[in-house]
Amino acid sequence: MGLVTRKKVFSIMALCAMVGLLLFPVIVSLPSLAIGADAPDAAKKEEAKVEKGRDVYYKTEGIVVGAPAPKTVDGPKDYPRYNFESRVLLWFANQQHLYYGSFVLAVPIFCMVVEFMGVVTKDKALAKRYDQLAYDFIKISLTAYSLTAVLGGILIFTFLTLYPAFFGYLSSIFRPVMHIYALMFVAESATLYIYYYGWDKMKEGFLKWIHLSMSVILNIIGTLLMFLANSWIGFMMSPAGVDEQGRFLGNIWHVLHTALWNPLNLHRILGNMAFGGGVVAAYAAYKFLASKTDEDRAHYDWMGYIAMALGVAFLIPLPFAGYWLMREVYAYRQQMGITLMGGLLAWLFIIQATMIGILFLSTNYYLWQAMGRMRGAEKYQRYIKYLVFILACGYLVFITPHTMVMTPAELKAMGGQQHPVLGNYGVMSAKNGGINVIITTTVLSFVWYMRGNKVSTVSWAKFGNIFMGVFFACAYVNIVGLAIYGYYIPANVRVGLSVPQVATTLSSLFFMFALNSVMMKGAKQTGAIEWGKISARSQYALIMLATAFTWMMGLMGYIRSSVRLFWHVNEIMRDNSPWAYTHTVGFAANMISFNVLFFWISILFVFWLGSLAAKKAPAGEKAGVPGSAPQPAGSH
């Protein structure tokens, strides 16, 4: 057996052993999952003794195996406290853990994608750059990983110290999967460290594929961990698997698979990715601005671009995932949906709309600035002013409110239920039109950027260009036309217009990107991309993007949590603490700002620590870092 073959066999065996070890805790835990399955047998034997309850969500009957949700009393037993509002402390601990957790779950997905691109690309120089970039990504997340674990510990202690009765109840419900969660965290850590420290040893040939497979395993574990964490908040918002008194009925799958679990999972995966992209882009921007050499500037410019592109790729479908989540909230409890979108928390959605606008405007601004480092892109720059106009119009329509909860004084001042002018315009189809125009314009900016320094050489280039132009024009006409049509039809019919509007935007996204890629294959370059020659303003746009996204995450998390109002677990366990009320918008905004700034100050510190380690590294280690050498055209 040759040396290479033996190496392959050992690698496969090592990978199988690792997968086996990772699955071991899950398999060992399976009996506990079967509580529900065993229960019917036990029920037959002791039918007279067992008590049955009806699942509040699934409406199925089950044998009561848990205690009722505690009826808490405001006092040191159920709500011990420091000389401060306990809810604010928990808010802080939770939010910081979530920020770091999202970051360390998102970055390995980037690594996987970028490493894969490095493995499959035929250009060796580019492959090396991708590999180095993936390594840089995971290096950034490694320090943050330990901090995430520390923050997780702080969060649990905060729960135990300030909300013992509530935490005790949730733990009793989730007991069958809590140890799986802990063991999976161990598996995640082990995989991450092997993945990181094995990078150099497994950088060639078949071993590289093994290394890449490990990143897949790492991400599967990470995603499952997140799903388990999401099941807690899903249960708090839309409980299932318990009866009206909150007694566990033995089926842990029902507890996990609540009405809002899947929409939350999808929303969080996309959100984490967009957030992770933002953080890495901000890191690259910081390094770019602090760079002393053209070589460094070129590298971090490229890194910032890739991170931004990955982040935005997940930001674009995020509003649609949010739409699904809201739809499921309405389907679960209409009052909950109305409290969110048209009641107590409605003003927060106005802030959210503002922020979505900021995110897309920053992205577009960055792309326009990035065209400046591309020779040949000048031909598109004169049209940017029209894109600004379209974006501004879309944005203004998007943030126009329709109905709002008002005090009698405000109602009197306004002269009616709706604003005399704006009230006529802020209907849902128009707002959907606004955001879809913004997203379609962002797609257009991307398309221009991708073809900035190229001229298509395919024989049907002229026809392709005309087709793309007509497609975009039709997309705008369709979106805006449906937005206007919405004013002439009843509200319940109007809601349905969002489907063709979204379909139009997604069609633009997929068809135009695909067509553009085909047209630009083997295209003639009109000039190189001069990495590192981008304006400093563009880097501030990346930082703006990252900060705004962090703020939006804080805002949406607050909205999601607040909608339970005075319930710890909706309709099951009541919050009887002195803080069972909802803060004002202003207080929430200040608190979110505090959390955002704390996160950024701490992560800038982490970046700084990382840069200290880099300074200590031997000089030869950075040899693989790409410089300002001419970049291949396909690198964007």
Binding site: K71, Q335, Y540, L565, F566, H583, T584, A589, I592, I601
Partner: protein, 436 residues
């Protein structure tokens, strides 16, 4: 502003002293006039930035709970300080400018949040002990209006909402928005005719219904008149769904409305009677009697599912800490006031978490304080306000939101009066009043 600067100097004096020392050191140690000028300028800029930073911290600390809208000012100050320092310290320039931009974005968004109308979600509705069965129709209707809209006469206010949460989805007047659920104007008339005669309702033949539920519970049957129809729609919304108002995708077979006698709304039958009475009375109709409506609900809500009447309910929301029959020292002990406050004359009241309660002396001064924003005009009013709404005026330097805001709900009127009477007679340096 003067206060803020003073406090900033008080808090940051070691930093200022260090910078002053550096200034002196540069004057003495640097001989090159250009370098000396540069070092002096940088130190002065550093002092300015430090002052801004400490003013920002003090402002944040002082107004964290009180004047929220002033907090973004702190963030703007930090932004200004960051950019000032970044200009003169190029080595840290990138980091400081990035930090400055982040503070600016946060300041803008915080400021925006504070500029918007400030709505605070209140505590869960207070539960009162009421004897509905002895009320007149008008009294019942008033209670019903409170349950629906949160107060008598509020039915035309947009956004008015009571514990029943009905206006979240239903409109109650002609021409008002009712996109999520039917407009209830004219319901008593419509219920007995249109609804019951609708073939889909399948009056008297529940098996013929094509909805998510055929009956409220096995054997309950269908409604026979308008009163029963309203009772059935409250207790079994899935038994009949008005066309166009079902859950999306169910072809109007399932209603988005929850059963009103179950969580999260959990109205008792008595409360539901009050709501239904209002629906009749507000249209100038003769309301059915309490017994008639109760009987209709009993038809559709099985014994086991009936929410307990308020006096039977147990648990914290309605549990009183003291009912007012106890002597004042016991009331203060039961409400745990003694843990946080020092109260002359009350055994064991040595707490220091909150201010000492010598309200006979303090209350008149507090009312005159320029920071006082409450409505009290007398000592008694001030004490009552401090108990039921502790954040109205917070005695410095104690933090806000430490004192629970639930005493208005957890102490009876008698108990509150006893506390107010006692505390208003406690003066600094004088013998405390007798305990009664």
């Amino acid at each position: 502003m003067g206060d803020l600067i003073n406090q900033a100097l008080e808090m940051g004096w070691p930093a200022f002293a260090l910078l002053a020392g550096l200034l002196v050191y540069f004057q003495v140690s640097i001989s090159d006039p250009v370098a000396k000028k540069r070092a002096t300028l940088r130190t002065i800029i550093g002092m300015g930035a430090t002052l801004l930073l400490f003013i920002a911290i003090v402002n944040y600390k002082e107004n964290f709970y009180g004047e929220n809208r002033l907090l973004p000012v702190s963030l703007v100050m930090v932004t200004a300080a960051s950019f000032m320092v970044a200009v003169y310290f190029p080595n840290l320039g990138a980091l400081l400018k990035i930090g400055g931009l982040m503070f600016f974005v946060a300041a803008f968004l915080s400021g925006y949040g504070n500029w918007l109308p400030q709505v605070e979600g209140g505590f869960p509705p207070k539960e009162e002990k009421l004897e509905y069965s002895g009320m007149t129709a008008q009294q019942l209707a008033d209670e019903g209006e409170k349950i629906i809209f949160g107060g008598v006469g509020k039915n035309k206010e947009q956004g008015a909402i009571g514990k029943g949460q009905c206006p979240l989805c239903h409109a109650f007047h002609a021409g008002m928005l009712g996109e999520r659920a039917p407009n209830l104007q004219g319901l008593p008339e419509r219920a007995g005719k249109e609804r019951l005669e609708d073939p889909k309702y399948s009056k008297g033949k529940p098996a013929g219904r094509d909805y998510a539920q055929k009956e409220a519970f096995p054997g309950s049957g269908t409604a026979e008149n308008a009163i029963e129809y309203i009772a059935e729609s409250h207790s079994c919304p899935n038994c009949y769904v008005v066309a166009g108002y079902g859950v999306k995708g169910t072809n109007d077979k399932e209603s988005p409305m929850p059963a009103i006698h179950k969580p999260p709304i959990s109205l008792s039958i008595d409360e539901l009677v009050a709501v239904d009475t209002w629906l009749f009375v507000r249209e100038g109709r003769d309301a059915p009697s309490f017994e008639e409506i109760s009987k209709a609900y009993e038809k559709f809500i099985p014994e086991a599912d009936r929410p307990k009447k308020q006096e039977e309910k147990s648990g914290p929301p309605s549990a009183l800490m003291a009912d007012g029959t106890e002597p004042v020292d016991q009331i203060l002990a039961k409400a745990q006031c003694v843990s946080c406050h020092t109260i002359p004359g009350i055994p064991g009241a040595n707490g220091t978490i909150g201010p000492k309660l010598v309200e006979g002396t303090n209350a008149p001064n507090r009312i005159k304080d320029k920071d006082y924003k409450g409505t009290a005009k007398s000592t008694s009013d001030y004490i009552m306000e401090s108990i039921v709404s502790p954040s109205t005026y917070v005695v410095k330097p104690f933090p806000d939101n430490t004192m629970p805001k639930v005493f208005g709900q957890k102490l009876s009127a008698g108990a509150l009066k006893k506390i107010v009477d006692y505390l208003s007679q406690v003066y600094e340096g004088k013998e405390p009043p007798k305990i009664s």
